[in-house]
């Protein structure tokens, strides 16, 4: 069973009937759910099911066209201030890392704190070095992203998101672009982060990680959540045909 000692009953993300279209294509067909403070939710589903789009609406990388999203008491609306506030509260880690290739790893991390949080350069660098230490890659601080391995890049990317001291972390398939031997080093970091009580929304195909860390697993298909349950129930007693198929396919290898 997942550890939920950190989970409280305070909702931190509230989604109500969230819809999203790409032109005529209906990607999200009314998602309604609530994430609690400290909760670890794993989102899975076949490609094109809208799972990535869903977590990208939460920090407004994608605009939802109907429904409400409230993050930490701030509604995502057309209010410029709210969007900026939420982006400071929510960190994000991408499948392709998206590190800035023209900046050193350290500068990748300090950019946000200095420019957005208005921290002093020295304080930001100190905090960044501490984060890199925590990610076990302090010796890579002054290198450029292209000079380190994929697993190390992804850990820098996690450090970059954490440097903003977010309340929520979004992970969009963080291990999908990695070589097999590097996946575990990234998952270790994520596991450690989960223990620290961070609220995490993780889109991933790593079912082992899901079973171990998640409080809840949400299964997306064709823009709707067709099943959500605690890991034990989800894996051992899936309700929906689509879910059963998915689990049997992903657990085969």
């Amino acid at each position: 069973m997942a550890e939920n000692e950190n989970t409280t009953n305070d909702p931190i993300i509230i989604c109500e009937d969230v819809h999203k279209w790409f032109d005529d294509f209906h990607v999200l067909k009314g998602i309604t759910t609530t994430f609690k403070k400290g909760e670890k939710a794993v989102i899975c589903g076949p490609s094109g099911s809208g799972k990535s789009t869903f977590i990208r609406t939460i920090n407004h990388l994608e605009e939802h066209q109907r429904g409400t999203i409230i993050v930490d008491g701030i509604e995502l609306s057309n209010d410029l201030r709210n969007i900026n506030l939420i982006r400071q509260e929510v960190g994000m880690v991408f499948q392709q890392f998206n590190l800035f290739p023209h900046l050193t790893n350290l500068k990748n991390i300090t950019l946000g704190p200095i420019q957005v949080r208005k921290m002093s350069k020295s304080a930001a660098e100190e905090a960044a070095l501490a984060l890199l230490e925590r990610m076990d890659i302090a010796d890579q601080a002054y290198k450029y992203p292209a000079e380190i391995s994929g697993g190390q890049q992804q850990r820098v990317a996690i450090a970059r998101a954490l440097a903003m001291e977010p309340k929520i972390m979004l992970f969009d398939e963080p291990t999908s672009a990695l070589d097999p031997e590097m996946i575990s080093e990234v998952l270790d970091v994520m596991r450690e982060l989960a223990h620290s009580g961070m609220t995490m929304l993780v889109v991933t195909h790593e079912m082992g990680f899901a079973r171990e860390v998640a409080d809840r697993i949400m299964f997306f298909d064709e823009g709707v959540v067709i099943e959500e349950a605690a890991p034990a129930d989800f894996f051992d007693n899936p309700q929906h045909e689509r879910t059963k198929l998915f689990i049997s396919q992903t657990l085969q290898h």
Binding site: H60, F94, Q115, A146, A161
Partner: protein, 394 residues
Amino acid sequence: MENLAFTQEVKPPNTQKGPVKWLKDNLFSTWYNSILTCLGLVILFFVFKSVFTWVFTQANWKVIPANLQILSIGSYPLEQIWRVSSVIYGLAVLLGLSAGIWNGLTRQITVAIGCIGAIILLLPFHISVREHALIANVIIAVCFAIGRDRDNWKRWVVIGWVLSFPWTMIMLHGFGADTVTTTNWGGLLLTLILAAIGILACFPLGVLLALGRRSQLPAIRWVSTIYIETVRGVPLITLLFMGSLLLPIFMPGDFQLDKVIRAMVVLTLFSAAYMAENVRGGLQAIPPGQVEAAQAVGLTYPKTMLFIDLPQALRSVIPAIVGQFIALFKDTSLVSVVGLLDLLGIGRSILGNPDWQGLQPEVYLFIAVIYFIFCYAMSFVSQKVEADLGIGKH
């Protein structure tokens, strides 16, 4: 497997090396390559022979030294020439210091400029010109030695470069009774000023236009696009003519713009459109994930552009931008169409003088060499930068 130790000691089969091998590989590898080589040699022989006979026996080179002064500074008064030298020496100081403080690119540019100075020194110019070149090179060398590894001077040198521009204009223009109006500016001096201003001013404008063309706001996008496409669709010479014929009509009654300034404005507006397309090319090549990552960290649009998009975009299009600068430098030769006497314009006016009639090949060739040295130096530096940044390797 047991033979491994032995195979390592075996030397490669005896291969030919040295010049014979090189000739065989590079010039006579196949029968048609041999024919091409011979053909090339024959053509080269005749071209060189005719050029050399003309240059050393038939050409009348007296026209160059006799007009060297107006070719370089136009009708800038001789008693005010110290202004020009002081500007050159000032720039030499900045250049030397920068080369000392920053290494890499700055040093290469400085070496390239130093080489131009050395060439001028060696050519049979008037002795005063060669003195200037010598002094400027010595200043560069001395300042280079002084500025080595003085990191704390960085800020002051940057401020110096920023101030060098108004300083140049003020020094050249002068004040009070000693004013040298722009009508007296000419020759290489005018060419360099026009090119420098055009290059400096078109850059920010081009970046703004590129951002405008990629804006999400349709009104801004459309206006930028129309501007860029219109300017790129017509020849520079029509725009220069418009600047001289139409601008006076469109300006308020008593407002008269200086001829040189009008040409500067047109050159800037013209190359900004091309610059915008170069920058846009660089912006388009940036993966969308970069902007998303910047937004996820909470950067606002201007900061995303400033810290993430533009640095990457500009780096990837440095060759195109330098190409644009070279084009602009060559395009300044068109200003003679509106009556300015730039390097080429002065050359043409010399040829209009009955004393020097019929010496077109000599004068044009000399001017061509000057343009070539500047343009080639720029493209050489650009290739160096390209190699340093490793563009095309990834």
